[in-house]
Amino acid sequence: MKVPMSSSAIDLASADAIARYEPVIGLEIHVQLATATKIFCGCPTGFGAPPNTNVCPVCLGLPGALPVLNREAVELALKAALALNCQIHQHSRFARKNYFYPDLPKGYQISQYDEPFSENGRVEIVVDGVRKSIGITRIHMEDDAGKSMHEGFKDSARYSYVDLNRCGTPLCEIVTEPDLRSSDEAYALLTEIKQVLQFVGVSTCDMEKGHLRCDANVSVRPRGTLPFGTKAEVKNLNSFRFLKQALDYEIARQVAVIESGGTVEQETRLYDPDSGETAGMRSKEHAHDYRYFPEPDLVPLRIADEWLSAIRATMPELPGRKRARFISEFGLREYDADVLTSTRAASEYFETAARVSGEPRAAANWVMGDLMGLLKTEARDIADAPVSAGNLGDLVKRIAAGEISGKMAKEIFAKMFASGEPAAAIIEREGLKQISDTDELQRTVADVIAKNPKQVEQYKGGKTAVLNYLVGQVMRATRGQANVAAVTELLKKMLGADRIC
């Protein structure tokens, strides 16, 4: 009996078939600029306000209202362009992108079209140890639309609702060249761009809040051939996992279509995270003629040299350069440098701790181990770690100076984490100072020797391993406050002297 195949099921290409093709991928990344207010009005950009409360005549598109460009949004956009090594045009212009949609109150989006403020950038990615440069075609600014809600209301069967709070939120659209050749490269690029933009403070890039959204143009071509295949635009790749899954699915789908003698259609496809598949949108929905024309309500954007220089001067060191410097200057391993430059906060924390301690590698271990471990358990961010970077550096410095033992340091650190106090205060209060006073230590060691004649006998008989036991006894007697190295030396000396006697 034949079982009818479900209409949604598609036979994907085999791994062998996929291997015969090369994917060609370009990304379009929408980033919400971290401004306090919207791009063309003074409304707050906050998330989670009751629907239609962060609105005004301008972002509601009321008759007669006019846009005024937010200077802060331009500054952040310029920072993004500088961070992605783009060329910045002194003169650019906004354009209207016309289409009807209920969450687009003006009936057009204000974007940049043929005169974007920035073009021709580059970003480096590393995949499987291979470094690759990816071209950035352009970056432009635009305003976001509102949100349509089709579900969750008692009359949702008949009506959709619109929340315009998000309307007018400033966005940057970053368009890359079709330089990516795998979903891993796309993943690496999005990761790199996210990291860079967070570093520079352009965006929080919080994907859950929609601050970072990604669409991809995907095509495949037989390996070894030059012409690009027909591309599909895949939308709704709003997490890193979805990006990879969707691309892998789409690549396999396109290969299967070609392998079975079909042709890939140029279309917009929507990724469905539940099924892990992409599906073509009805062509009517995206067959737009946006009728772009220059926005007559805004004057052309001119970026003065002085302004750009001032912004350039405030640019922080970018993660790539920082990573390299951490390796060369502090002698970090590549992996550690990667971890410690994953966010701007982590890199700054580490660098302060490294400088204060004078022991960068030890500081790196503390930051990546104890600090990040505790932060993770408490689900806190390094930016609001209870132990300041200076205090951690000071702790590491005390260990290096032999003032406290590594074991004591762990306990002290836990207390610092709990109370936020500096190490000195805890050491002082709890009398935790390492015993380096030789007289006192000598008395304790002599006492341990006297109380353990059997072990002393064994040691003298050549069973030197028993020394560790004796050291442990001294440490116990000093509640761990003795310097292990000093105790070991002293024991050796006194047991040897005893032998001479």
């Binding site: 008759p63 007669g64 003006k106 003629d289």
Partner: protein, 479 residues
């Protein structure tokens, strides 16, 4: 005190001598306007509450010995495309029949801060699209001078109110002649200031790069005072100009001796009949006042109408997209899907002229046509602006007709949109160039129909424009 012939000076005097309070004057002006309005239909609705509240503020300032402002107690009619907080603003469209804006246009804020009183909102062509005010969804306006004729448009209601005496001054809007042409038809002064001189914030957009707010008045001086009160940089309008606002009234000294005036050949070659006779008579008056008149050439004029109707319809097609039934627009009740809602709302809501322009504008911006139409029109617009720049290297002002003919009969041109578009020929060049221009009464035809003379000056040259118009007005050669 005759309400219908008041001037700003007369109002000031009445208040200053305590002959009347602003509240009394406002009540009287409202009574008069409400009584007289049915004759012309100049006003769509009145705003007595807002008017009396503004009057009370003026009286309070007077009681405290404070300067009540240059427009203190002056009844002002406002074209219904300029938004007024709490007062219905319909744009003469069914789509906005019940729309009450939550904010004021900058021009309204400034006008009230200067002591002006918003008496009510005036009728116009729907979304300011038209030259006769017959495109209003709420019926036409009759020209107070000849009730069987149109008042011109699109600001026909504002022009008619001032001509009829139901307002001392009025605010209108001009995109291609919508202030000057009705001023000419109704025999009043109408001013289109330099683009960017008055904030457009709160002016319902028709064609953003061409839209202006400007004053109507019965005298040049009153128009100058009103413009002075509303002009100046507005941070809410990126296209508003930084240039300081001079005291326009200080220029009204009658001294126009030696001013060089240009008569554009291209504007006069087809001008016929009484409109031509009256204009030349006006030019003779200016010569007698000591102006030097010469013929000039503005060669790009021939392309002005095509250029204008491409740019203005393109911008309009985008500006009018927001009237979609989703929010404040009156929504068609008979729709089951989103696209039906759009189609029905807009299909039932917009009048024929708006639809015509939306379609034209959508077409010229369409993929594959943009370069041939919109882009080319922008290039021609630059040529027209260059004509003006060159002309103003030779002359201080340009004198031109406003319209090829005086006010026509209601319904006469309704079925011929092309004829209606062509009648904008003399006013749209100034609009495209963004230079200040105005219509000042220049006499009447044998039938008693007013004809205006247009004066245009260089960007921000309003002072010269007012000086010339004022000297002409004061010469007494007209009337």
């Amino acid at each position: 005190m005759k309400i219908e012939s008041l001037t700003i000076d007369a109002v000031r005097q009445a208040l200053g001598t305590r002959q009347a309070s602003a509240a009394e004057l406002t009540r009287e002006a409202l009574r008069f306007a409400e009584r007289e309005n049915p004759r012309t239909g100049a006003y769509l609705h009145f705003s007595p509450e807002r008017a009396l509240a503004a009057a009370a503020r003026v009286d309070e300032r007077l009681a405290h010995g404070e300067d009540p402002g240059p427009l203190a107690g002056v009844p002002v009619a406002v074209k219904d495309v300029i938004v007024t907080k709490g007062v219905r603003t319909t744009c003469a469209s069914k789509l906005l029949a019940n729309y009450v804006p939550p904010y004021d246009a900058t021009a309204i804020v400034r006008m009230e801060a200067a002591g002006g009183i918003v008496l009510g909102k005036t009728n116009c062509d729907e979304f300011a699209m038209g030259s006769s005010t017959e495109n209003s969804a709420f019926g036409p306006v009759r020209n107070p001078v000849a009730l069987d004729r149109v008042p011109g448009g699109s600001s026909g209601g504002s022009a008619a109110a001032v001509a009829q005496g139901t307002a001392v001054v009025a605010l209108g809007s001009d995109t291609g002649g919508s202030i000057r042409q009705p001023a000419s038809f109704c025999g009043v002064v109408g001013v289109t200031p330099t683009y960017g001189r008055v904030s457009r914030y709160g002016l319902t957009a028709f064609a953003s790069s061409l839209d202006h707010i400007g004053p109507f008045a019965r005298t040049v001086k009153d128009a100058a005072i009103l413009l002075g009160a509303i002009a100046g940089r507005d941070p809410a309008d990126s296209t508003s100009a930084e240039a300081p606002v001079p005291d326009y009234t200080a220029a009204l000294d009658g001294n126009v001796k030696g001013l060089k005036l240009g008569l554009p050949r291209e504007y006069l070659k087809d001008l016929k009949g009484e409109s031509s006779d009256l204009l030349y008579r006006g030019v003779d008056v200016l010569k007698r006042l000591g102006c030097e008149v010469r013929e000039i050439s503005m060669p790009a004029t021939d392309y002005a109408i095509a250029t204008y109707y491409i740019i203005c319809t393109a911008e309009a097609s985008s500006n009018l997209a927001r009237y979609d039934g989703v929010r404040y627009t009156t929504r068609s009740p008979h729709s089951d899907t989103l696209s039906e809602m759009y189609r029905n709302t807009r299909g039932e809501g917009f009048g024929a002229e708006c639809k015509r322009r939306i379609m034209l504008g959508t077409y010229v911006l369409s993929h594959g046509y943009y370069d041939a139409y919109y882009l080319k029109a922008q290039k021609v617009r630059a040529l027209i602006a260059r004509d003006f720049a060159r002309a103003f290297e030779q002359v201080d002002a340009i004198v031109a007709p406003v319209s090829p003919f005086p006010a026509f009969k209601l319904g006469e041109k309704l079925d011929d949109p092309m004829a209606m578009y062509l009648s904008d020929i003399y006013t749209i060049t100034g609009s495209l160039a963004g230079v200040p221009c105005m219509s000042v009464p220049c006499g009447q035809t044998a039938e008693g129909l007013p004809v205006g003379m247009q004066i245009l000056t260089r960007h921000f040259g309003e002072t010269t424009m007012f000086r010339l118009a004022h000297a002409f007005e004061q010469s007494g050669a007209v009337n």
